[in-house]
Symmetry: C2
Subunit: 486 residues, 2 copies
């Protein structure tokens, strides 16, 4: 929790004036009561909290534009917020910022099954996008664990993935267009039914930009026909390294299952104690799901069985019914809840080439012993998107700091293996100071030039993504630039 000194009288008056201007601009949509803004103090990275200046909940693109123009003219920072499920602090406010929340923007604007697309307001939840087209035989592919709650706008900001993204790709592969409101209130349309076709592909850079470039208010999304069928297998191994090597062999063979999920021994035990899914007590297990017609499923499972056999599996459990499929997935879907029972945890999402899995898993084990902190691994193995959970005790002084240092070392390990800091959670505040581990100064400079282009005063979602020192000095420099260079 970041402790702030109480603001003095002139600051208070200034804050009240800003709130009044917001109320005038959008009556009935402004929250500034301390009791009510509490829900907006943090996102799912709840170790960090800060009360915002105010929260505004617009209902239309035009209202977002009006609010942005106002904040721009008043030089008030803006923090965009979908459903606040970010795991990296991506929607955490600063005390001088206005949160623009998308929770009232949940409409379906268009469904065109023939062109395989849906257009929605960006506050709509991920799962209810699939819900809107389910009866037509379609679904929206990206499926983050938080899909019941998380908003499409947040998915776009973080370029979210999910268990099934091995086959279907992450958000950027399923996004056709957005309506984007820039910091100065101007509204731009990027992409459309055909995606981004001519000129510069700004859609790609906006997806995953963590609210640094603008606020997405509407999105056109690719929908896919539901597969004829799907079947998971559970494969148990004696060690994490062996399971990792089997993943690499499956991918190398060119098989693309819908999902390859990985759980190691600490995770399996916690999950069994919590959900009792009947998993084998082994060093690590994989859940591999394939889909298609009966013939396609049969062929893929034969190939996977042949490969797995080479790694001496302890168990190869193929689902024979809906109920068995549900039980195979039950433990994996309960894993994060189960870990919560074990203690406080930090969840990372460094991503590595699949061939590096055995080596990085071994490295994480070594670090765990060095730091004296437990780690459990549960992740999307097929595309190398790791989710090590570091267990610590929030009530034990110094434990959080140690857990964070451990996390940073894991991410360094990922970068050294040719990977990156984040696969789907974003950099947020959590990993901003690690960006220089992945990017050379010229690389980061190129990113910040684009930020300059969209948000010259660095008012949007401040203090995130870029190292704090760098973004603070950049903002300072821009605010003090000569007027004629605006």
């Amino acid at each position: 929790m970041i402790q702030m000194p109480p603001p003095d009288a002139s600051v208070l008056a200034q804050r009240q004036a800003i709130v009044q201007a917001l109320r005038d601009a959008l009556p009935g949509a402004v929250i500034d009561d301390a009791a009510e803004t509490r829900a907006y103090e943090c996102d799912a990275l709840s170790a960090y909290r800060c009360a915002p200046l105010a929260v505004v909940l617009p209902s239309t693109t035009e209202e977002v534009s009006r609010l942005m123009r106002l904040c721009h003219d008043l030089r008030v920072p803006v923090v965009p917020r979908g459903a606040g499920t970010s795991l990296a602090g991506g929607s955490m406010p600063t005390e001088d910022a206005v949160i623009i929340g998308l929770s009232r923007m949940t409409e379906v604007l268009e469904i065109a099954p023939g062109d395989r697309l849906i257009r929605v307001q960006a506050g709509r939840t991920n799962l209810s996008v699939s819900g809107a087209v389910d009866g037509l035989g379609f679904f929206y592919a990206p499926d983050p664990s938080s899909q019941l709650a998380c908003a499409i706008g947040g998915n776009i900001a973080m370029n979210s993935g999910g268990a099934h993204c091995l086959k279907y790709g992450v958000t950027t592969n399923n996004l056709l267009g957005v309506t984007l409101v820039l910091m100065d209130g101007s509204v731009v349309e990027l992409g459309g039914p055909m995606g981004e076709g001519s000129g510069l592909d700004l859609l790609g850079v906006v997806c995953g930009s963590e609210g640094q470039l603008g606020i997405v208010t509407e999105a056109t999304l690719r929908i896919l026909p539901k597969p004829a069928g799907a079947r998971p297998v559970l494969i148990g191994f004696d060690s994490s390294e062996t399971a990792g090597a089997c993943v690499a062999a499956i991918i190398r063979a060119g098989i693309i299952p819908v999902a390859i999920e990985f759980m190691d021994s600490p995770c399996i035990r916690a999950t069994e104690a919590h959900a009792g899914a009947g998993y084998p007590d082994c060093g690590a297990l994989l859940i591999v799901e394939v889909e298609g017609t009966a013939a396609e499923i049969g062929e893929q499972l034969t190939l996977i069985r042949d490969i797995a056999t080479r790694f001496d599996p302890i168990e190869f459990r193929e689902s024979r019914s809906e109920d068995e499929s549900r039980r195979i997935w039950l433990g994996r879907k309960s894993a994060f809840g189960a870990m919560g029972q074990m203690g406080d945890y930090i969840c990372l999402d460094g991503t590595i080439p699949v061939t590096a899995l055995p080596q990085v898993l071994a490295g994480i084990g070594r670090l765990s012993r060095d730091y004296g902190l437990s780690v459990a691994n549960v992740f999307h193995a097929g595309d190398g998107n790791m989710h090590p959970l570091i267990i610590y005790d929030a009530n034990k002084p110094g434990d959080l700091d140690r857990a964070e240092a451990f996390g940073a070392d894991i991410l360094r390990l990922c970068v050294q293996a040719g990977g990156c800091l984040t696969g789907e959670h974003g950099v947020g505040i959590e990993k901003r100071d690690l960006m220089s581990e992945q990017f050379a100064p010229a690389d980061m400079e190129a990113q910040m030039r684009v930020k300059d282009a969209f948000d010259p005063d660095w008012l949007l979602n401040p203090a995130k993504v870029f190292p704090l020192e760098v973004s603070a000095s950049r903002r300072e420099r821009r605010l003090n630039r000569p007027a004629d260079a605006a």
Copy 2:
């Protein structure tokens, strides 16, 4: 052909000084003899030509960086060039520009089949990328018609597709990372083995940016395992509209063949006269290719036959052998050559939602009658990427102008149907003045802000992508900006 007045003596001296500076920077790599630069006067949009100031052929990223810094300091525009196969004038020089050509940069830098990637220098041809991994059982998916000649760097600049991109996506879906040299000579690394993971996804905006942001010198590309087998079917229909409706029905059913190619009657006749592939004489035909194991191929073809039957096909010819497959593809692969025999042509590549195919095809037919110019349609129908070929006579005064006006009307039709100006050829010089048909001023302004960020003086690949008037005034404004705002 753009006619230029002969340069006066001071301009000549200035040009000679620039050429000398280039020679000093990179001995043995500069071409400025008029006979030798002739090959660089145009690309595949050969109706437009202009001799460059000079051509330089570097061999390494460091050499490209040295040249870019020099041109930047001398304020000399730079035109990047892959193999010069662009169909939209994307690599056409201006008379004051230095061409930096990639033809010497053809090395394979790394092959990692386990991580399914290859890293190459950007001058390597598309087909020879697949060639480098063929023996390992892999291929590189994007396959533009020019794949024997075109360079990966050009593919990235135009975000090229190809007949098989319906299933595998276009370049941006198969690109993991690039080394990019900016106009000031700085070298940035975007993406890598895991694609672009943290911070802003600059890789996406660089792909398809038509050389406006920098020169790609090295690329990390996704390679895919070769499918077990593939089989095409040829389906003949009585009209273009019916064939278009059948494409929409296949896509709507959720089948994703590897390719759905479309040829109309004028194209079929020209192709038959040229290549004699044995195509039926009908209103339009589709070539649909599916791939996978024998069981997968069988299931998909059954579904496609069921759908096609609803549209009363004149013929449904399923390949039964390698030789029959070759013959089915023969006509399609000869189509562009065959059209060349019919006269001069302009090839467009507007892209539309597949449900709009029947309506847009009918509209093109009406325009063809209005303009009194023949049009032949041959294109990637599955993803709505049209390639209308407008036939004209270059020796007939006014015919090119009429053909261009006809082309512009077709592209307006595409944009009105929810599509865009270009699917894979780029905007180049050909469609720059049509950009305002697709983009509102705020949309185009957002694109140009990114251009400003990477190339503040607008020196890179000038007079392309953006409407000529807009980009000229933008460049002017930037060059005259106060020094402290640089």
